[in-house]
């Protein structure tokens, strides 16, 4: 009896928190039928917003993967002053609210900011434009790759790399043939998390972008805009697409975990 009650509670909680909201979003999206759903998504501002999200995500993943890996290798293998402080600072973006992060970038890169005024003189806009949005997303997702691979690298140690050097491998060959394969799963997992977070990021991007329709609106900002304009079916159509992408990433992540366990 008690066990059944417990199961019922879990199912109820699950329905309330996950299934009903998802169902609600899907139902709203298809309120006007499939045709309306498709035409909502075909709208120019919707398409642009998804494209912008795509480019920001791509840029973020590439840059954070490269720099996150370099950072992790440096922190895990080199000895230098201030290393501990740096290791602690890697997590800073997790602790800072994305909105605060956004304001930090406006302060720094805004038209009157320390660095921004400099770029402004050269005719380059950073805040309220693509570079600023990319920067904010980079900041917010900065820890994922490094955090996933630092422990793997530390556990991996130096010996296999030293063995490669003695056998005549250059640093570059050693990285590609020995180090990278050993951190592969951690790296894939870090990239997946970075992708998911880049697609879903709202606060930091909202602050630095100014949410200019057709120009600096990402998918999440578009949904927000449609919603505040009482255009619910447009908002929910876009939301369904985002939810599907997230679901895809989730499935992929499960697979990666499977791969991690096997190796």
């Amino acid at each position: 009896m008690g066990r059944m009650l417990l199961t019922a509670c879990v199912i109820g909680w699950f329905l309330l928190l996950i299934l009903f909201p998802v169902f609600g979003v899907v139902k709203e999206a298809f309120q006007g039928g499939i045709g309306a759903f498709v035409s909502n998504l075909k709208e120019a501002s919707a398409v642009r917003s998804f494209l912008l999200t795509f480019w920001i995500t791509l840029g973020t993943v590439v840059l954070n993967t490269v720099f996150g890996t370099i950072l992790a290798v440096t922190l895990a293998k080199q000895r230098f002053r201030g290393k501990l402080i740096m290791e602690g600072l890697v997590d800073l973006p997790f602790a800072v609210s994305p909105v605060v992060a956004g304001f930090m970038f406006i302060l720094l890169f805004g038209p009157n900011g320390w660095i921004g005024s400099w770029f402004e003189a050269g005719g380059i806009k950073i805040v309220y434009a693509f570079p600023g949005m990319l920067l904010a997303t980079l900041f917010v997702t900065f820890p994922f790759v490094a955090r996933e691979i630092i422990p793997v690298l530390k556990e991996f140690g130096l010996q296999q790399e030293e063995a490669a050097y003695v056998l005549g491998a250059s640093r570059w060959q050693t990285f590609w043939k020995v180090t990278l394969p050993s951190i592969k799963w951690g790296l894939v997992y870090g990239i997946t998390l970075t992708t998911a977070r880049s697609i879903g990021e709202f606060g930091a991007v909202l602050v630095v972008s100014g949410s200019i329709i057709n120009r600096t609106q990402t998918a999440t900002l578009f949904i927000h805009q449609e919603f505040t304009d009482f255009n619910y079916s447009g908002a929910f159509s876009a939301a369904v697409v985002l939810a599907l992408i997230s679901f895809g990433i989730l499935v992929f992540m499960q697979k990666v975990y499977g791969g991690k366990r096997r190796s």
Partner: protein, 365 residues
Amino acid sequence: MGIRVCGISKRFGDFLAVDDVSFEVKTGELIALLGPSGSGKSTILRIIAGLEVPDKGEIYLRKTQVTSLTTQKRRVGFVFQHYALFKHMTVEKNIAFGLEVRKADGSFIRKKVAELIDLVKLQGYEKHYPDQLSGGQRQRVALARALATEPAVLLLDEPFGALDAKVRGNLAQWLREFHNQLQITSIFVTHDQEEAIEIADKIVVINRGRVEQMGNAREVYENPDSKFVASFIGRVNVLDAVAGDGRVVIKNTPYAVGNPDAAAMKDGDVVLLIRPEDVGILSGPHPYAIPVEVRRIHYRGSHYEVDCLVGSAFLRLIQSKNGFDSLELSEGKKISLVFNSYRVFEAQEGHAEVRAKLKELGYIE
């Protein structure tokens, strides 16, 4: 000349790990760097391989100065203590690695790998990953991988350290035979003196970053230059004694030991180091007979070990089964001993240290 190490020193922060070490290895020799953990022997090996840069000194491999060459260019074979096999590669791929990064021809690589697999007797394991192998098998993969690039010298860091005792003995013997077959100049690092005595042509004893002594196993064992070497190489008894008037008298006893060098000794406190096998049990009278009482008898399977009380110190001796039976030894029995061979050292220099070391090794209480 295979390897020449000239006056190398290496400091890690405040710690002087290697202190002005020099030695030579002839082409085709197998030598052991023997010393306790933390003595700097692994660092010496890593400096030869180019994995550490010495603060001072020079390394020559085959008459060429290599001190400023990178590890990659030295072409040495190195077997790491925990093998350091590439976990994500099969046995085959591990062995082929050195040839592949040097862009060797594909068919040559295949031929060479097959040859090495034969040599280390791992046929049938080509496609296995390191995780699927036993410790001894991994060790052999590491050896094959190191030999693939045909290095002129082979360096082995505690090659049997991670194996259990039984496998260890077999593998050590196998390495010796293997070396006889290949004649490759080799240095191996070990803290196990039996291993060193068993397989090395020459032993270099390292303590606190310095060379204490070098020579073949017999020289080092029978004529140790210092108390450290005497106590580290093999089991040994330590007796306090007093030198004076050309005699060496065991402390707390009236008994002197025969010592041809007594005249050359400075008067004062000395330490006698006597190996258990150098203590003889007398059946008749002898000018240097030392009467003692048997206190404990340890049965060791192939032989007996007997503890006796000399003055206030315990002395251990070894007795064969036959000798033991004919002497009818038993606890409490009074017997006479003579020291067939022993070394005398002045007591001051590092005496406490040697005692501490022996205590740690379990030779004295």
